[in-house]
Amino acid sequence: MEPDASIETSSMIRVAVLPIASIPPLLFQDYAAMLLRHHTVSLNSISSFYTEHQKSPFANQPWDSGSLRFKFMLGGSPPSPWEDFQSNRKILAVIGLCHCPSSPDLLSVANQFTAACKSYSSSLVQRCFAFCPGDSQLEEESCKGSNIVLFPPADRQTQEFHLQTMVQDIAASLLMEFEKWVLQAESGGTILKTPLDSQASLSSEEVIKAKKRRLGRAQKTIGDYCLLAGSPVDANAHYSTALELTRLTADFFWHAGAMEGSVCALLIDRMGQKDPVLEDEVKYRYNSVILHYRKSFIQDNAQRVSPLSFELEATLKLARFLCRYSAYSLMQDFSKEVVELLTAAADGATSLIDASDKLVVYVEIARLFGALGYHRKAAFFSRQVAQLYLQQDNKLAAISAMQVLAMTTKAYRVQSRASSEPSHDDGQTYADGRKMHHYSIVSLFESQWSTLQMVVLREILLSAVRAGDPLAAWSAAARLLRSYYPLITPAGQNGLASALANSAVRLPLGTRCGDPALPFIRLHSFPLHSSQMDIVKRNLAREDWWVGSAPSGPFIYTPFSKGEPTHGDKQELTWVVGEPVQVLVELANPCGFEVKVDSIYLSVHSNNLDAFPVSVNLPPNSSKVITLSGIPTKEGPVSIPGCIVHCFGVITEHFFKEVDNLLIGATQGLVLSDPFRSCGAAKLKNAHVPNISVVPPLPLLVSHVVGGDSSVMLYEGEIRDVWISLANAGTVPVEQAHISFSGKNQDSIVSVASETLKSALPLKPGAEVKICATLKAWQLGITDPDAASSKGVPGTLGKQVKDGSSPMLLIHYAGQLINSGEPQTGSVPPPGRRLVIPLNICVLQGLSFVKARLLSMEIPARVGETYTKLVQLESDATERVHGSERQSDRFMKIDPYRGSWGLRLLELELSNPTDVVFETSVSLDMERPNNKDSSSHCTCAEFGDPKTRIDKECTARVLIPLEHFKLPILDGSFLVKGSQNNGNTGGRSPSFSEKDIKAELNASTKSLISRIKVRWQSGRNSSGELDIKDAIQAALQASVMDVLLPDPLTFGFRLAKSSLDHSAKLISPKKSDMQVNSLGSGGSINAHDMTAMEVLVRNNTKETIKIDLSITCKDVAGENCIEGDKATVLWEGVLTGIGKEVSPLQEIRHVFSLYFLIPGEYTMSAAAVIDDANEVLRARARTRSSDEPIFCRGPPFHVRVNGTA
């Protein structure tokens, strides 16, 4: 049996190609390859070398179309016992290849060549080709006469041409030798024998038989030579004769051989023709060849030799022929016939005696099945071959077995990743993978013949171990372990682990293998940037470049974002050059032994990430999530398809996608087991690799709150400055920065010194800037204080911090734009960043407001030289009334001489539930006496009195006088409803709507309220303000009119100028009058003295009022002491029914004199009845009918009358 046999083999001249002397193997291969190209030499090209010595026996040689075919046997081959039977089995020529520089002595080369040729006794021509001879060798004489042909050093083309010429020479020589041989054979009697013929001493009968047969055999052999000489017609003639002769002598074996030769001659003759008739002819003849070979089976020497191999060879030749033919023809499909032939050959192979023959048959069957496209069949027979190899217990056979098995891996789908073509679906994204249709998932696991796959892998492992190929062994063990661990017993798993370890020992350090072993690795997640390092895309078109970039909210999915969801879930991830990044991966070891991962790091195909290796130990049946980190080195996209793992002594690359596919298969029940689930790992949603891009270095702001990053404890309403230090920890200066607020309670940030930050730009790397933020603690919720105050433990409020009620400072900052000149279209600007500084504010319950009340108070005034402010008002009467400010207004000093009638006070009750002391002070912001014409400067009136101290767990009350908020004029605008305005309302439009009035009233009320501020202080550095606006408004709501609006008329008494002689000294020390208790000095009225007094009436409205003024005086008992029987006061002037007319905003005086008979306390009061009151006054007086007289009563004034003592 010979491999690669085909029908045409019979026409090929065997040439042994031998390496002569010490030729390097690579050069030998190179020269041999050059030689192998000349396997066919056309007859007309050799005609120049051919000389016809005698008449050629090949009469019909086609000189113009025919050719000689060579079969070069590299390294030669041992002589076959069947040489006589088939002449093409003879080595007819020997070609030696020699490399002169490595073997300088040509003589010894010649000797060696001659020696090598000795073993090829059948060779007719010998040549030794010596390449690249040196000059000295070229000149050497010794090789003349020997067969050495020197190839002078030249370029390749010339050498090839030279070689072709030499081959043609050889061909011509062979042709002449064949002629010689044929002529000799025709004349002389050559004895042709085969091993089939009995070797024992021939009996006479057999000798006769052999003699008979000799002629037929000779004819057959001549036919063979004709065929070799490229003359099929001659060959056919001889074969026909031989067929006749052998048939007559019942020499079936030779008959079949001759028939085989005739088919070959037929094919050579019809070379290149394709017709079905030829096809059928060949088929028919070959079937009879096979039949005759079978017939030639002789029982008696079956043990020793059998023509079976020829029968099988013929079968395979036919199969090859049909197979080749069916590959060309579309009309006929011979695959069924080929399969039958091959099946028959396989059946026959079992009874072959020689193991190597069996091997060859199986190899051929496998090749033919492969050629037919029956890969599984081919793999099956390849495996048979491998098993035959494995039966021979030697290393070379094991290597062969390993190589044959490696060829089967594709059919059994266990091929090594290194040998398989690069996966074509690399571009397939994870998103696509998730949407994969069920059937395409199934296709991923096609041909999961796990039993077979395991067997094949085990055989590969076994052969690799035997062959001493540690890498192949490692790879097979890794594949076996990774794919089939659920089917392998723990003992088997341990065995594989030790096989891996043993192989690794023999491998050089750092060997890489395409097939990953354990552990299974899947992508767990990509941790997002911390809020401190958030990266924000820059929108160049806008000044506020951060707007509309990354979603800043906590929601990844917003129901409003439209667009295809597949696009949406493709996350974008930005990494920055030089800043470490992290990726979480999950490792699983589902096997029963501990896996020691020496190092694992991210595999980055884009070469722009420095990955940091880590080592992990995975106990049996366990999984672990680990963090792999790296530093991006170059900008551009990053792709992370998997991890590089150094485990079991070999470096392998593990792709995430393969594990993902495996997991998909596991969910569909197509794969044996999910390695992660069997290890108890949590089910993980398919993490997919986002688009990662690396951007150039960005600035990096790092913040900390000066004085500690822990939360700031503030009492409600407390105002405090917090200093925040910002440092640039990046390598690029910060060029732009903007501060904004977010989160809850944003209004608690009163101000942030963003100017400071702006002015510090550009912030160089390493530079630091401190900015100040003013915080004001917000009020705690309404429900909370109740709970807290009932417990009385302020610490319980600490939980307030955790609910995220604190505001945050957002700082958007960015480095320089690379091309600051004109932004190129298409170029993406480097992104900016966002720094989130959470202001951890812990608000504690502070001073709390209990309630507000409006109180009124009446203190009678004293009649004296000093006068009310109204006097002073008169002096600057030229000024606009409402513009004049009562500058001297010492707010809460009650002037005993002036008194206060209808004084209204706002009482605030404050409680202090905390354990610290609070001091409060009330201030009135007098900035805006009314909301119009606020040209005035800041005049903040504050009480002179000390602060009110509220001890812990105490309550206190604070009084706020509201007197000052009275408007100077009683303006109709507040009161008049409807259109009944008279002209005095000035420029106001008559169609003054009610809404506007209300609005104005509200505004003035609001301004009133906003001017009242209750500030508090606690300890050294806590201070704040109570937020009591709502409470005050509630308290004032009912009587806001009374508080705000003045009475239409103001009354006042004073001593008249006529008594100047008495009171002169009293006027000058004005300050003394202010003292509350200086009754003595104030009481300058003496009894039994005519005291001139005057009553002042001021009109607070904008129109003239006619009044009917009357004055009364009462004694301590309240008796009227002017009129009646017991009048104790005499008087001069008019006291009742004084008809007066007061012009708007002016005052009148009415002088009268009193003569007190008895010293003591008297009370004087003035009253007036307003005639012809207008709407404004009526509204103010809240009269019910228009007829009702309006009665105005002034506040009481005290008069102290001293005795005359």
Partner: protein
């Protein structure tokens, strides 16, 4: 009579979804592998033959040594394959028909995903019983 038989169901994606050694010959692990290898290799031939004939039962479609492969091809290209050494064609045919029926019953199970492995022990028991009955 001791005989060898290996029965397999191969889905249309060439995935074996059921396999059983149903012969009465004492099991040898190597032999079992060999049976599967033969059946796997026979798929090539079945694949070609399936399109040339309308018959569902393909008798002795392939052989290796003394083992013969018979195949019953379903409409959805699921193949019931039997490797056997007995020549009891009628029995084999009946066996295939009955197993086919069983397989259809399995397919009707809403929890069974077509194309995945048949893990039902009931199916296994029934198949083995049928094998004993017909071979």
């Amino acid at each position: 009579m001791a005989n060898t038989a290996c029965f397999m169901i191969v889905s249309k994606n060439d995935i074996p979804i059921y396999e059983a050694e149903v012969g009465t010959v004492p099991k040898k692990e190597d032999a079992a592998h060999q049976h599967q290898f033969i059946l796997h290799a026979a798929l090539d031939i079945v694949q070609d033959m399936a399109w040339t004939t309308s018959a569902m039962f393909l008798k002795a479609i392939d052989r290796f040594n003394d083992l013969v492969v018979s195949v019953y091809i379903k409409v959805i290209h699921t193949r019931l394959m039997l490797l056997h050494d007995s020549r009891n064609d009628d029995g084999i045919k009946s066996f295939f028909q009955e197993v086919h029926e069983l397989y259809i019953k399995t397919l009707l199970n809403p929890l069974y995903l077509p194309g995945s492995r048949i893990t039902s022990s009931h199916f296994d028991t029934k198949v083995r019983a049928l094998a004993r009955k017909y071979m």
